[in-house]
Symmetry: C2
């Protein structure tokens, strides 16, 4: 199909398609003349994935890295998850103290070699952000966080399809990245519900 | 103190301080001459909050809205949470189907009036992103998400300090926003641990 039909099929404007081509997110079509190319169903599917990543707040460079993982996945679901995480976690800048992150990871059952280093660094950076703001997460609340992510991960990993490599790649890479906004949105709703139950809308702070 | 001392005390460069002043994130100091102003401890604390928000990935405009909520909080912790959430949730663009979001919210105990509309719209947008990507969250996994966010929110809201309005404001606004990267980082670690237990690093996909 021509680029105009690709645009109709995918609901993505021609200008955006050209942008994704220039940015290397969408593979080139097959050239039929110096100014024309044809595209196929793989391009339609790829455009849906690109839009989903960008909608989820993933930047262009990170999206490129996630798509590269989809295109050339490391062998095995576990390595794949590491590659997907590494693609979306910002690179560490400056000194990070990994000790506190490791101590939390150990409470999640972490052992040396389980995790891509980028994942532990990402946790260390999140802790550093809280510390810089002088925001202390109480022990009770941290316990609740650890129990919650442990049950989330258990359900997610148990659900990884092993029927085909393509299914597993899609599930692991997109599931990890695209579900993040869902979890944050659900937490906000749950917070508001719990807050409405604890505090009347009229309660004022003394 | 002069801007150079504010920079030393806060660890933020003079150039960045000037940028935050221009962007309206940091209040002006007291002018002592047309080219000089003096700053106080409130500026040091505010700079720590600004850096924490930006480190957590909050954009300049959203950070401005969160800081405005801190400066002029609505009366009552529940309204405050709504204002903090509304500040960081991107505004809805295009049509959103709220029915699926409402159905999930109801499973979290949501009743009409509990939530700021922006929060439900944020959930609807997260669901839309997954749907556009053709990514289906299974019932088992959605159950795990709902149970997890419910226990997180229960612990968080129970921990809201009511000792002083300032404490409550800081806890609710920063806790909701700054903890997001922590939760996502913990989930990644938990996923890697669960994945390492389920799949050998050598397992290849058949």
């Amino acid at each position: 199909m021509r680029i105009s039909e690709l645009s109709d099929r995918s609901g993505v404007t021609v200008a955006s398609i050209k942008y994704y081509l220039r940015e290397g997110l969408l593979p080139e079509g097959v050239r039929t003349s110096p100014t024309q190319a044809v595209y196929d169903e793989a391009h339609v599917r790829r455009l849906a994935t690109i839009r989903a990543l960008l909608d989820a707040g993933v930047g262009i460079a990170d999206a490129r890295a996630v798509l590269a993982t989809l295109d050339d996945p490391p062998a095995g679901p576990h390595l794949l998850l590491g590659a997907a995480h590494a693609a979306v976690i910002p690179h560490a800048t400056g000194d990070l103290d990994l000790a506190a992150a490791q101590a939390l990871a150990e409470r999640l059952g972490w052992q040396e070699g389980d995790c891509d280093t980028a994942v532990l660094e990402g946790l260390a950076r999140a802790l550093q952000t809280l510390e810089r703001a002088g925001f202390v997460v109480s022990d009770d609340i941290m316990d609740a966080y650890l129990a919650a992510v442990e049950s989330i991960a258990a359900a997610e990993i148990a659900g990884t399809p092993t029927t085909s490599p393509e299914d597993a790649v899609r599930y692991v890479v997109l599931g990890s990245v695209l579900v993040e906004p869902l979890l944050l949105a659900l937490r906000r709703v749950a917070e508001q519900v719990a807050s409405a139950r604890r505090f009347d809308a009229d309660t004022t702070l003394s």
